[in-house]
Assembly symmetry: C2
Homo-oligomer: 388 residues x 2
């Protein structure tokens, strides 16, 4: 559906993203009448979402009064739920973190105990920021598994036993606000995009135990027909040595069975390294251990062969690597770049940036906050809210 | 950029796509005021793009007057330029063909002679339809090579010698209207979508001499960072027998070097079939020749391994096969489906439709017409046109 750019929500978006700084800018940008724009801006000021103040440079007549988005008009709760830990933050409406806390959990305890813990942590961060439940405008939650976005229910999540079809939003009833749930990779992808307004096409590839990808089209999460877009961990990869690896999904030679964190640990042990976790392999690579370096680089090459195909097909502006294995940095990137430049079309590869996330720990929380903020300030929702 | 849904162009779109049938519908749909909607509808009626007439069912008060898009308010020229032939059509503003003609050309004659021929054919179809150059609202052209969409110039097209950087729109100056040029696969993809309004995610895969893909996100052509999205012909494919094929691009084992029309002919000759063109191989397969059938099916399997990866990544609603090799139909589809169902994730493959185009000959012209119509009736352009 096209967005309603002359609606109050759209006017707000233009100010938030810096495209408009005054009523005159909004009139010029949307083609709506001066009266319509003024009436809607007045509604937004009354709702405390816009503030008026200061004067811009005149280009002739009276200098225009500047409009500013009031990012302190409310707050959102951002939850980054992992397999063994959860991070909860409260942020303002520009995703600035006001307070945050992390806590170990076991996702296998199931939704009841885990979400009760999340709620306890949320009350704690709100109190720390001097806020109450009534200040919360929206809740955003990233979870480590597939989610039906429209209902916020996990859908057969392989590493979240007991969570299938659980209505996660119902645990946040006390906030009386919209609750948005998505898988962690889509949420991280939003976090990597930063504040709203970018119109780039971006792939955010998470290499942890498994491998997944957040797909951003024109600055928004692309989900596909069943919401499973970006599920690249089970793409078939031919090994140069012709060997076959069976994946936990039952298929042969899936990308994550060859180049995911679990595969890296398995290959490191087989190569004689005294390690018991993927993190140790990554740390050894960072310390310059030759065997670990070569294993990481080789994982990069394998991931790069899949990304080369996706670069030809999707022609992204950027690829951002994140997740535990991505913390290896240079050796992983070197392997990926080698394979991408060897096999992607020059036109698509020429200006492509491939980087490691600057803040992999934070992007889950920032992304969850952005998902909540975008949902809350969505053009249609603002329209409805002001109509009440 | 968000679209301006309360603009005249957006109101027109709502009526064209059937989402709104009256002024009251438009008010409800856009949230704009009754006065704003009425003023813009009056502009559109004055411009002959909307017609008012008939009465809808009343749900209480006075029955509403119905609005209709006037698809005969103008016409567009649609040009489907191939390597050895060109088809030119004139259509109304709903892409209904009013007159059409095809003619052999040689693309290697270069832009001067070829576009002069196109212009001659265009004048002919206009006359046949009882129209003149002044009736043409926009021109849409599909060409067999990469195009910089914003300028309408081919960009290093491998099979269009002499066309690099040629400003194709300048050949249509006599129509004094916008001219839109895109590569033939994107144009065919639009044609396969049919009239505007669908919001599906679709891949249209053309298997001719080469292999390319039109990517439709939410009903619109997706182009990517450099406009090269969908360039899947040079994705690396591992052959089960380990053999290596060098592609015309210089790389090894590109998809089209193994499964394109040229490869099919090469393999058929090597297998001893007395054929001199890809078309003959496809015809023999259609007639039940065992060797030709197996070759086509095997090409389908190879294409299917690439599509399986793209299904996981992109999760499309539909895949439509088109181009000369796709006319083989069932054996090609059987090979593709076998590979896709073997390797794609069940969630993404479950509801996926894979079909052969119903009207491969027509989709280039219909797509070119739709590109021109959408460009002409684009929300911003209508706004500008009415402002003049």
């Amino acid at each position: 559906m096209p967005h309603i750019s002359a609606s109050a929500g759209a006017l707000l978006r233009h100010v938030r993203t810096g495209r408009a700084r005054s009523r005159a800018d909004l009139v010029a940008l949307t083609g709506a009448s001066r009266n319509t724009v003024s009436a809607r801006v007045d509604q937004l000021i009354a709702a405390n979402l816009l503030a008026e103040g200061g004067r811009g440079w005149s280009t002739g007549g009276r200098p225009p009064t500047l409009l500013q988005f009031n990012s302190r008009a409310g707050c959102v709760l951002a939850v980054d739920l992992g397999v063994t830990s959860v991070d909860v933050a409260v942020t303002d409406l520009s995703a600035q973190v006001l307070a945050t806390v992390g806590h170990p959990i076991d996702i296998a305890d199931g939704p009841g105990p885990v979400l009760a813990e999340v709620d306890r942590l949320a009350q704690g961060v709100l109190a720390e920021a001097g806020l109450t439940s009534a200040d919360v405008c929206a809740v955003g939650i990233g979870v480590p598994g597939p989610v039906e976005f429209s209902t916020g229910r996990p859908s057969h999540p392989p590493i979240m036993p007991g969570w299938h079809d659980h209505p996660i939003p119902s645990a946040f009833g006390r906030y009386e606000c919209p609750v948005f749930v998505d898988n962690d990779v889509n949420v991280m992808a939003l976090g990597e995009m930063g504040v709203a307004g970018s119109v780039q096409d971006v792939l955010v590839v998470k290499v942890g135990t498994g491998i997944g990808c957040g797909v951003i089209v024109d600055g928004r999460v692309y989900r596909g027909a069943q919401g499973s877009a970006g599920d690249i961990g089970h793409i078939y990869v031919a090994r140069p040595d012709g060997r076959t690896v069976i994946c936990r999904c039952g298929n042969e030679n899936c990308l994550e069975a060859i180049a995911g964190g679990g595969a890296l640990l398995r290959d490191a042990v087989a190569a004689g390294l005294p390690v018991t976790s993927t993190r140790e392999v990554v740390e050894r690579a960072a310390q310059g251990d030759g065997i670990a370096l070569e294993l990481v680089r080789d994982a990069g090459r394998t991931i790069g062969t899949v990304l080369a195909a996706l670069v030809n097909f999707f022609n992204p502006h950027r690829i951002v690597m994140t997740g535990g294995v991505a913390q290896a940095g240079v050796p992983l990137l070197a392997g990926i770049r080698e394979a991408v430049y060897r096999r992607a079309m020059p036109l698509a590869a020429r200006a492509l940036e491939i980087t490691v996330s600057d803040a992999p720990d934070l992007s889950g929380r920032v992304g969850a906050a952005l998902m909540a903020i975008e949902g809350f300030l969505d053009e249609d929702s603002v329209h409805e809210a002001l109509a009440r």
